[in-house]
Symmetry: C2
Subunit: 488 residues, 2 copies
């Protein structure tokens, strides 16, 4: 008999049941040829004693092996290892290997890419990011409760095997209520589509709208992933200035007079990267332009849920835009969980087309995850979380603002009305990339300015994401920045 | 005092804690104006008695209200409803409504769409589908265990907030092992990318390869979502016959001699829709053609995991193809859970480009879900499930084959070597759409033939997905088909 006591080791800390550990070890021993086809496994009583396990555990392990056809019971003889082993080896028709070491000789389409935005220090804990939520505040307990509740009811779970391309119906209905309550949007479920995040909404809308060579108006600067998406789809970008009141709508109008514009991309709240909010006056004017020049508009409202000193202005999508505004947003940032769920609001016909395209891109979403989010909306979990997180981020914005005064005349900024980041403009004399490299050597990771100026000459400015840092971390981060500036 | 006893109803069956139910009711009463700003809530002792709840529950509810700023404690007076209510209403800048009832006046790009494939009877339980797994066999207990284990460790969970565009690193490593063991693929993690399913892999690969006007070779017939994707991306489809040994590779070669072909799409196992497997001889020949004419190949191996009478032949991707074969597959079908996870295998440089494009489409995946799948692969859960499901589907294929004999000369078919469907060809005299409509009236839902012949003249054939039906359901389904044929 083989030295089973040493061959079959049990890990009592493993989450895997012991009988399965035993069965899996036997499978390895059979696959490795240590136990030959046609031989017999030791009797369950004997093996149980050898391994100091209950006999029932061994019987369960043998049953598992039999159910997988590795062994078969032979009357009065015990468990025989199958001579016709179930591990069917694939038939090879060609002996070659390592084919993927070679790069193919055919040309690939160009995809817009950013230079790698981060440097050494990446793995360090202290990171001033682009403006992400604090995952430590995420409504994790509530999320766990919803998921558990769904996965513990297999009968119900099985209805959730497939989500349509427009998304889970329950979530669409809850989204309508949520957007009506928070944004004054007056829509029906047929105007909604659940996506994998705001980015998928942007891609889908842009892919429906842009023909190669079309002109698209964006800000100067603008959210880089949006710009890259439009370019990828064949658009020519026309940039208009962004000042303290948001996009310069007069510049938009001048462009519309000169050229046939297909699409306008606008971030009405807390513009990325500059964090400014489009003023009510400019919104009115923009609505006129949209109608007059028959513009399609993607309104990216990724950060609406967080606002501080002032009440938010309703989005363009809530106004009288004649169906021109495709409204996109996300729950990913709002909740700070790993789930990636966003939405798109548009006329019914547009949603139908978008769903047809989405089928080609990924068929549909994860219905279970979407159902869990619907329940969180219904039960007020999302609303409660937003209220609490908003208070925390408001305090952090003010704390960050006070701390950044330490940097003196090296930096200027305006506290944003909402969102998760402050736009820091540094003096032209300061070598910002060098300062960021020095900060990294002191343990602080930040983004480089070039990523905020995709396709443009970078200015001396970066986003300071304050939301994910508590008071102590904010103090540390600004302290390191001060030191790094002093090293110049 | 308000009649709180009737205004605040507690649902003891709800999963929501009672204190939250009380707090939420108070919020509604405040929002509805029934409780006015500046008034006081009843003392916790009094309310506890009124509602027959513990006083601590009321105190917790009031704390919740205070933490959300709905009320504030006033010394010796109790909880006062805030005069400055926290529900900040968005500022409207325009009174208009119902903007999404209008359809926009701008043109949308055409998206290939199928006519709606299903008819009445859709909601009925008995469905002969395209070839989907039986969700009743899904490894749900194991999946629940993995998810629970991850979500019950917040410290770990928080590391999972973001998945890179190429996917969770642990899952990529496990995928390498899985594909090596099952398919003889010799790759490193840098050759892999985790996607939202095989469809996203097809879309990404095709979008990297296809320039408008490029020729793409597919089968006649072919998987409709692949054809639609290639057309959406601007390709011109060239179709070659599919016979019992798969794609006609001589026809492929003739096309390559005549035209500059960019891409070949091939389903080497259980071709969709016809279920045939590409023979070893044709694979050899195809590899020669690929190299000679510098073809890019998308090998869609969506159904490899299920094979019956014969051992599977390794995919083209496992052979010596010089990096030309982009290999795509999925765990969605293999596991039958709601999760949508697929993969793409390609040279490193190709994967990097694909990741850049995927960022524009949806940034990245759900890291938690990917980590849970990695654990299931590591612990052998996936291998065990596949082995068990394979046995069940094998029995069902044979049972379906025996039952379909009842239809006599009306139908001809070849049992497939693997996969989840049988390709049924009906006699030309039979009005198949009418038969399907009649079957629907008898309670059986099936697909119409047109969806299997996208862009072609439909033949009298449909897929009979047997995997999701047990013996009793198969008997019922074939019985209804027999009756429906008899009604003609």
């Amino acid at each position: 008999m083989l030295p089973y006591k040493s061959l079959i080791r049990i890990d009592r800390k493993s989450r895997q049941p012991i009988y399965l550990q035993v069965a899996n070890r036997f499978i390895s021993l059979i696959q490795d040829g240590l136990i030959r086809p046609g031989t017999y496994l030791p009797g369950s009583r004997i093996l149980a004693e050898l391994l100091s396990l209950h006999r029932k555990t061994i019987v369960a392990a043998y049953d598992e092996l039999a159910s997988q056809d590795w062994v078969a019971p032979v009357p009065r003889k015990g468990m025989m290892v199958a001579s016709n082993l179930p591990e069917i080896k694939p038939r090879t028709f060609s002996g070659a290997r390592h084919a993927y070491e070679q790069e193919p000789a055919f040309a690939l389409n160009e995809i817009p890419m950013l230079p790698h935005p981060r440097i050494a220090g990446r793995q360090k804990k202290l990171v001033v990011n682009d403006g992400f939520p604090d995952v430590r505040l995420a409504p994790l307990d509530e999320w766990i409760r919803e998921c558990r509740s769904l996965i513990q009811h297999p009968a119900y779970y099985r209805h959730l095997a497939f989500s349509p391309a427009t998304g889970n119906e329950h979530l669409r209905a809850q989204l309508v209520k949520h957007l009506s309550g928070t944004r004054g949007l007056n829509i029906i479920p047929e105007n909604t589509m659940i996506t994998r995040g705001a980015q998928m909404s942007i891609y889908l809308a842009a892919a429906l709208l842009i023909h190669k060579g079309d002109y698209v108006i964006t800000g100067s600067p603008n959210y880089y992933f949006a710009d890259m998406t439009f370019e990828q789809l064949g658009a020519q970008l026309l940039r208009v200035p962004v000042d303290k009141d948001g996009l310069d709508v007069d510049a938009v109008e001048r462009l519309c007079k000169k050229k046939k514009i297909k699409l306008l991309y606008v971030i009405s709240h807390h513009h990325h990267p500059t964090t400014v909010t489009l003023s009510a006056e400019r919104r009115m004017k923009l609505l006129e332009i949209i109608r007059q020049y028959n513009l399609a508009v993607i309104e990216d409202d990724y950060d609406y849920d967080f606002y501080y000193s002032a009440a938010p202005i309703v989005p363009l999508a809530s106004a009288d835009h004649g169906g021109h505004v495709i409204y996109v947003g996300s729950f990913t940032k709002s909740l700070g969980l790993s789930l990636r769920i966003g939405f798109m609001i548009a006329p019914k016909h547009f949603i139908e087309r978008a769903a047809a395209l989405r089928k080609l891109m990924d068929l549909g979403g994860d219905n279970l995850v979407e159902e869990a989010l619907a329940n969180m909306l219904k039960e007020g979990v999302v609303a409660r979380h937003l209220k609490k997180a908003n208070k925390v981020y408001w305090e952090r914005r003010d704390a960050a603002g006070a701390l950044l005064q330490q940097l003196g005349r090296q930096v200027t900024f305006q506290l944003p009305q909402g969102g998760m980041a402050i736009w820091l403009k540094f003096q032209p004399e300061l070598d910002l990339p060098q300062m960021i490299t020095q900060a990294a050597s002191l343990g602080l990771t930040m983004n480089f300015p070039h990523q905020y100026f995709y396709g443009m000459q970078p200015e001396n400015a970066i986003r300071f994401g304050f939301a994910s840092l508590n008071q102590r971390e904010l103090t540390q981060a600004v302290g390191i920045m001060e030191k790094a500036i002093g090293m110049q």
